[in-house]
């Protein structure tokens, strides 16, 4: 087959394919998925999710198990979303050798549920003292924390209001709370819910939100000239966070799910391609060679048919703990049996064609006849079955990951679901953790099913609807 024939054949195929609406829809979906892989850094807030999925420091500013931001659109109680505030006003005073700087962050609070945490970040050198205060819309200023930094050559300072200001917030709240209502234990207080509430009776027990402009003021004393605190910013862990919420280890699910697209495509396409290629060549060889070779190849094929795939993959994964590449190879080793039967019967038909006889009469070798004259005719069929094997490969990997046997250096949808299952997402109704990864598996499966069924429809005109 010459290149020009392949081109013409492809053109004909495409002309037919264009008419199958769901096939086109599948192609569009596939295009979107591929786009998501390439645009990954631009569409997710945590672009390193794929490589640092199990690195807790990468996620520490996120809230725990927070629902997605868009639940606010459907709910009457508005929750504060996660936010990073970098803008600030800066002023400094000099007192002999010492320096006093004031950094003011402004936060417009107009929600019913406060953020879970407000975290101050900075990079400190020398031995500065950081004092954090909050100025509320009602004019009250609460002194929150005073943190001296021991002499350092530069380290990251992280002050979390939820963790480090329990006592100060409690004391502030206790001033307004009536004594008989004041039964709350000091260790149980949520500082942010006190600081973002009206200063009146009930502030500790049933707080009413105080909306308006808050100022978070960081006063920093720098004892010597060389001391600095730079790169300051404030991050708020909202009570809603990100497009798909967070899980119980503070990971952003949207970032994880998008990182999984790449791996799903890789697993699906690579497995389907290898397996179907092996299967088609095996089937054609079996058909063409015939005789005892055919019988032997058929016996080997039947042996593989007798293997229950998922159980064997599970046991092999449990015992050998394979990486994702080994898993792909393992799956290819079992998936190739799929197309063999059909290909063999097609090959038996092609074998009888006169041009094959002619090629043989001219003295072509078996490999030349198989690869040059028989396999190209099966290419359309191969592509159709490849498309239909992609979803199964993805589901098998996901099933193995669901059991906790996945490759722990990457993040796949199955692994997110495994974490969801072990993290009690089903019992606690954390739907934003359970639905998206599975939905993406289903969507990816649907994409390739659309493409595969469309090709199938073109290849088997008998079942075409009249």
């Amino acid at each position: 087959m010459k290149w020009i024939d392949i081109k013409a054949g492809f053109k004909d195929f495409w002309n037919e394919f264009k008419n199958v609406k769901f096939g086109l829809f599948g192609l569009i979906l596939l295009f979107i998925f591929i786009l998501a892989v390439f645009l990954n850094p631009y569409i997710v807030p945590f672009p390193e999710a794929s490589s640092r999925w199990r690195d807790i420091t990468y996620w520490e500013d996120n809230p725990v198990s927070a629902p997605p931001v868009w639940v606010n659109w459907f709910s009457s109680t508005k929750r504060a979303p996660s936010l990073i505030i970098r803008e600030h006003t800066f002023s400094e005073e000099k007192m002999r050798k010492m320096k006093l700087t004031r950094t003011i962050f402004e936060y417009e609070y107009s929600y019913d549920l406060p953020p879970l945490d407000v975290i101050f970040h900075g990079y400190a050198k020398g031995s500065p003292v950081i004092m954090l205060n909050i100025e509320r819309p009602d004019g009250r200023i609460v002194e929150l924390v005073r943190r001296p930094i021991s002499k350092s050559d530069g380290k990251i300072v992280r002050i979390s209001i939820a963790k480090d200001t329990r006592i100060e917030s409690y004391n502030f709240g206790a001033k307004y709370e009536s004594p008989e209502q004041n039964r709350i234990i000091r260790e149980m207080v949520k500082p942010t819910s006190i600081l973002f509430s009206e200063a009146k009776e009930g502030i500790l027990v049933h707080p009413t939100p105080l909306k308006g402009a808050y100022k978070i003021i960081a006063e920093i004393i720098l004892p010597s000239e060389t001391d600095v605190v730079e790169d300051v910013y404030l991050s708020l862990s909202g009570s809603v966070s990100g497009w798909l919420g967070t899980d119980n280890s503070k990971r952003d699910i949207w970032s994880g799910v998008v990182a999984g697209v790449k791996w799903a495509l890789l697993i699906g396409l690579l497995t389907a391609f290898t397996a179907v290629s092996i299967g088609v060549i095996y089937g054609v060889m079996s058909a063409y060679l015939g005789g005892w070779r055919d019988s032997l190849m058929q016996r080997i094929f039947e042996l593989f048919v007798g293997i229950p795939l998922l159980p064997v993959l599970i046991v092999m994964s449990a015992i050998f703990k394979p990486s994702i590449w080994i898993l792909i190879i393992m799956m290819s080793c079992f998936f190739w049996v799929g197309p063999v039967k059909t290909v063999r019967s097609m090959g038996l038909q092609i074998k009888e064609e006169t041009y094959i006889e002619a090629a043989r009469a001219l003295g072509s070798s078996s490999s030349r006849i198989i690869f040059k004259h028989m396999v190209p005719l099966l290419i359309p069929y191969s592509f159709a079955s490849m498309a239909l094997y992609v979803p199964s490969a993805i589901v098998y990997e996901a099933s193995i990951s669901l059991l906790g046997l996945g490759d722990s250096t990457i993040v796949t949808w199955g692994q997110i679901l495994h974490d969801a299952l072990t993290g009690g997402a089903v019992i606690n109704g954390l739907w934003w953790w359970v639905i998206p990864p599975g939905l993406f598996i289903a969507l990816m499966g649907m994409t390739f099913a659309f493409i595969g069924f469309a090709m199938d429809k073109i290849l088997h005109p008998k079942l075409r609807t009249r």
Binding site: G306, A318, V434, G438
Partner: protein, 347 residues
């Protein structure tokens, strides 16, 4: 001759099973032996605890070494590797799977075969019920689709088939549990029956009540596919010449469909039903774990969690036997329904 074909097919299935068992034994030999060795050490340790305490340290070491040698001889660990593999494969073929390290059967026994035999019927019950309902619904929808191929119902349900094509059943199971068991709380979240299990007739109603959610999930995922396949089978038969001949003779459409078309369609549909049952064993079995349905699939979960290698391996052997048995039965039924198959070969 049908029975000759049967015997041939069964022997052939057995041969495949035996070969596979040998392959498994060779493949997982190292792991299984290391488990066995640690089990031996544990047994010896337990024995020394019961011993006379007045033994000198030398005597004790000698005793331990003796026992170790004896036990290693007992389990053939002192033989060359190929002999160990053959011994293990033969052991498996005589249903001697060894002892579980942690998992116990409901009666407290640690024999792997007892544990698996307890789970086996539950898996069969769950999946056969689901496939049965699947096929009934699939037949109903598939015939409708084939009769009106290309019309709205056919097109929309075909798209439904493609939508669920790559959907993992266990994920749908998670959603179903979240909704039915924890949000509106009308079904139990899992298990085989309530604790303590009721007696008499109530036991069975309780069992069905617990089976509802898993079966529902399997049916929602499965019946689209069977409807689509049945549609294709029936449609290709409806395009045959003899159907057209029957129609021209003025035979009513109902009779053409059920009398002529469905008779030809029966063998492939039965095959399809059994194949989907096998596909459940081969690809869907861990679904049980989501519903804590205590079958073979759930046993995979538990044995991996507890790192119980003997149970894991025994489970694999039994699943393979089940799978190959299914394939053999499939061929037998097919040969019975379609006489052309069993003649086969060169005459």
């Amino acid at each position: 001759m049908y029975w000759k074909y049967c015997i041939k097919r069964i022997i052939y299935g057995l041969a495949i099973f035996i070969v596979l068992i040998f392959i498994y034994s060779a493949l997982f030999n190292t792991t299984m032996e290391s488990t066995l060795r640690s089990q031996i050490e544990e047994e010896i340790h337990a024995e020394t605890m019961r011993l006379d305490t007045r033994m000198t340290p030398e005597e004790l070491t000698r005793y331990i070494n003796e026992r170790r040698e004896f036990k290693q001889h007992l389990y053939h660990l002192d033989k060359p590797i190929w002999k160990r593999i053959v011994w293990r494969a033969l052991n498996v073929l005589s249903l001697n799977f060894g002892k579980a390290t942690i998992i116990r059967s409901s009666a407290g026994e640690s024999d792997v075969w007892t544990i698996i035999a307890e789970c086996l019927p539950r898996t069969v019950l769950l999946f056969t019920t689901a496939i049965f309902i699947n096929i009934i619904l699939g037949l109903w929808l598939g015939i409708k689709k084939a009769q009106k191929a290309g019309e709205l119902l056919d097109k929309t349900t075909s798209i439904g088939t493609m939508i669920v094509y790559g959907m993992p059943s266990w994920w749908l199971g998670m959603l179903v549990i979240m909704f039915f068991a924890y949000t509106i709380r009308i079904f139990p979240s899992g298990g085989l029956h309530s604790i303590p299990p009721p007696t008499g007739l109530a036991y069975y109603t309780d069992l069905f009540y617990h089976m509802t959610l898993p079966v529902l999930t399997l049916v929602i995922i499965g019946f689209w596919g069977s409807a689509f396949l049945i549609r294709n089978i029936v449609l290709s038969i409806l395009q045959e010449d003899y159907i057209m001949a029957a129609r021209t003779r003025g035979i009513p459409e109902r009779k053409v469909l059920y009398g002529h078309a469905m008779r030809t369609a029966a063998p492939p549909i039965v095959t399809m039903a059994l194949l989907s049952l096998l596909a459940s064993v081969g690809g869907n079995i861990i679904f049980e774990g989501i519903f804590s349905w205590p079958g073979l699939g759930n046993l995979y979960w538990i044995s991996i969690e507890q790192n119980d290698i003997p149970v894991l391996m025994g489970n694999l052997f039994v699943t393979t036997a089940l799978y190959i048995g299914g394939l053999v039965i499939l061929d037998l039924i097919y040969g019975f329904l379609d006489p052309r198959i069993k003649v086969g070969g060169k005459q």
